[in-house]
């Protein structure tokens, strides 16, 4: 089976800057795939190389198994939703959506039918004669999506299209995008710096940094099993990173004492880090006898975060971040100065060696 998109050792330089560094990637058919990374990590350049808007300095781009590295954009059968959306201001909704079919010289009667279908899919029926500036932000997203999808592209490329929207509308559009993707069954490649967007919608995510792909995996995988310190730090809201030395199988020596970990016997003698997500740390009465790592600490600060409480806990000079849902009243919430036990089971810790 061929992949929808395949990048083989792609590199791209802008002057001396290596925007994309030897990137290889396989995107499966009908997959919702995200390129996630901080700004300047090369994710947009990678997307533009797939679109043919940039030519790579090295490497091969394959669409549907065919080498398209030097095929111009307009012959690639892709669709793209731009960061600014780039809806043509001199055309109305209908004309915008019909544009791609016009370029392909599709008969007018078929254009009418397909635009009508598309408007239904993106739920914009009745707005076809509106001008772009008369639409709300969410409606514009839908027009941009419809315009790109109507040509039935082999792959749809999306370059941070939700960036300009309010939080509420953005949340709604995420679900909407996912729904449309299922409905039309097209491969989506989605570029974003927002991990929530990537987590919510993607089947798989590639995390990028400095032009290099750090890890590719399902949202669950990159969250639970980050491959290196960068991914561990970048994904998730916060993480507790204990630096130390792997002294004997299953034991890492850190500044707060020895920590029991799962596996990694081959790292004996090396510098490693143990990373624990804030929600995996048990606190106070939750720490029972069978918890592998137990330490005594003092609450430095209690921050009410709404759905949960965030504690900052000092353990021998290391400040743990702990997230706890609150089940009872105020009396159940620890306050600054309280002395508490903190702990986690060894499977809750992530061993990082890079």
């Amino acid at each position: 089976m061929s992949y929808a998109v395949e990048l083989i050792n792609i590199s791209k330089y802008f002057g001396d800057v290596r925007a994309v560094d030897n990137v290889s990637l396989k995107v499966r058919k009908n997959e919702f795939f995200s390129l996630l990374g901080p700004s300047g990590c090369g994710k947009t350049t990678t997307l533009r190389i797939i679109a043919g808007l940039e030519e790579p300095d090295k490497g091969i781009v394959k669409l549907d198994g065919k080498d398209v590295t030097y095929v111009p954009t307009h012959k690639r059968n892709i669709g793209m939703v731009f960061q600014t959306l780039a809806l043509f201001p001199h055309m109305n909704v209908y004309e915008n959506i019909a544009f791609g079919l016009r370029m392909r010289r599709v008969p007018e009667s078929e254009i009418r039918r397909r635009v009508r279908e598309m408007l239904e899919i993106v739920r914009l029926t009745g707005l076809e004669h509106r001008r772009i500036h008369q639409l709300s932000g969410g409606q514009r997203q839908r027009v941009a999506l419809a315009r790109a999808l109507i040509v039935q592209p082999a792959v749809l490329l999306l370059d941070e299209p939700l960036g300009a929207l309010d939080l509420k509308i953005r949340q709604r559009m995420m679900v909407e995008l996912k729904r449309v993707q299922r409905e039309v069954g097209t491969t989506f490649i989605y570029v974003t710096h927002d991990q929530t967007e990537a987590m919510v919608m993607s089947d798989r995510i590639a995390v990028m940094k400095d032009g290099v792909i750090q890890q590719v995996g399902a949202p669950y995988e990159i969250y639970m099993r980050p491959r290196n310190r960068f991914v561990a730090n970048f994904i998730g809201e916060a993480i507790n990173m204990l630096e130390g030395t792997y002294i004997e199988p299953g034991v890492v020596e850190t500044s707060i004492g020895n920590v029991r970990v799962e596996g990694g016997a081959e790292y004996v003698g090396r510098r490693v880090a143990v990373a624990i997500r804030p929600e995996k740390i048990l606190i106070g009465e939750e720490v029972s006898g069978d918890v592998d790592n137990v330490f005594s600490g003092r609450i430095l600060m209690t921050i009410f975060r709404g759905a949960f409480v965030e504690y900052r806990v000092d353990v021998a000079g290391f400040e743990f971040i702990v997230f706890k849902p609150h089940v009872g009243g105020l009396a159940r919430i620890y306050q600054a100065g309280d002395v508490v036990k903190v702990g986690w089971i060894k499977e809750g810790g992530i061993l990082l060696v890079d």
Partner: protein, 258 residues
Amino acid sequence: MKLFDKILKAYTYTVLALIYLPIVILIIFSFNESRSKVVFTGFTLENYYSLIGNYRVWDSFYNSIWTGAVVTVVSVVLAILMAYGVSRYEFSGKTLIDSIMLIPIIIPEIVEALTLLVFLVIIGIELSPYTVIIGHVAFDISFAYVVVKARMAGYDPQFEEAARTLGADEIRAFTKVTLPILAPGIAAAALIAFLESYDDFIKTFFTRPPGFMTLPVYIWNMASRRGFPLDLNALATFVVAISLIFAYIRNRIERRVY
């Protein structure tokens, strides 16, 4: 502070009134029966009848319009090429070229006119309406360029990229998307180019063949006599009316910005 603001306001209105005053007086006295410049002795349309019957005025007006139209088309096309090249491509000497484009605006017209005249005569090109057009295009490219480039600066290249991802080749992306989006800017540039040509006196005066008159040249011929020909006042009314129409069109175009 309040008093100061009031004085400033009164001052502004006074200056505005004074700017309009001479023109208004000129128009009012085009309806005057006698040759007095102060006392309105009686209403007449006599000056307008003599204006309407004056074929040389209409001939000059016609010349102004058609040369202006040719100048506009040529200079706007050249200006679009230039502005597009400068906005879209990176190359060495770009800032230099950008400043070179401003030179024809800054150089005094009388010097442009005399150098062009000397040049035309030296290389043996006979003066004709086309030499007038050539001269006008040489400064109009710059005026049109400044306007078109300003609009292009606000033009997002993603529009063109979007067209390409939708299956348009570069040429169709340019004609179907870029050009229509830039249309208001191009219209504004065309209007300015036309007016600079339509209104030009000095360069036309130097590079025209004998007997070829545009409206400004005709006005000069009448105004540089010692007297005060009253049908010139009538012509002024006509010219002012045309100018107001242009000002109105320009105002409408300015509002059509995407």
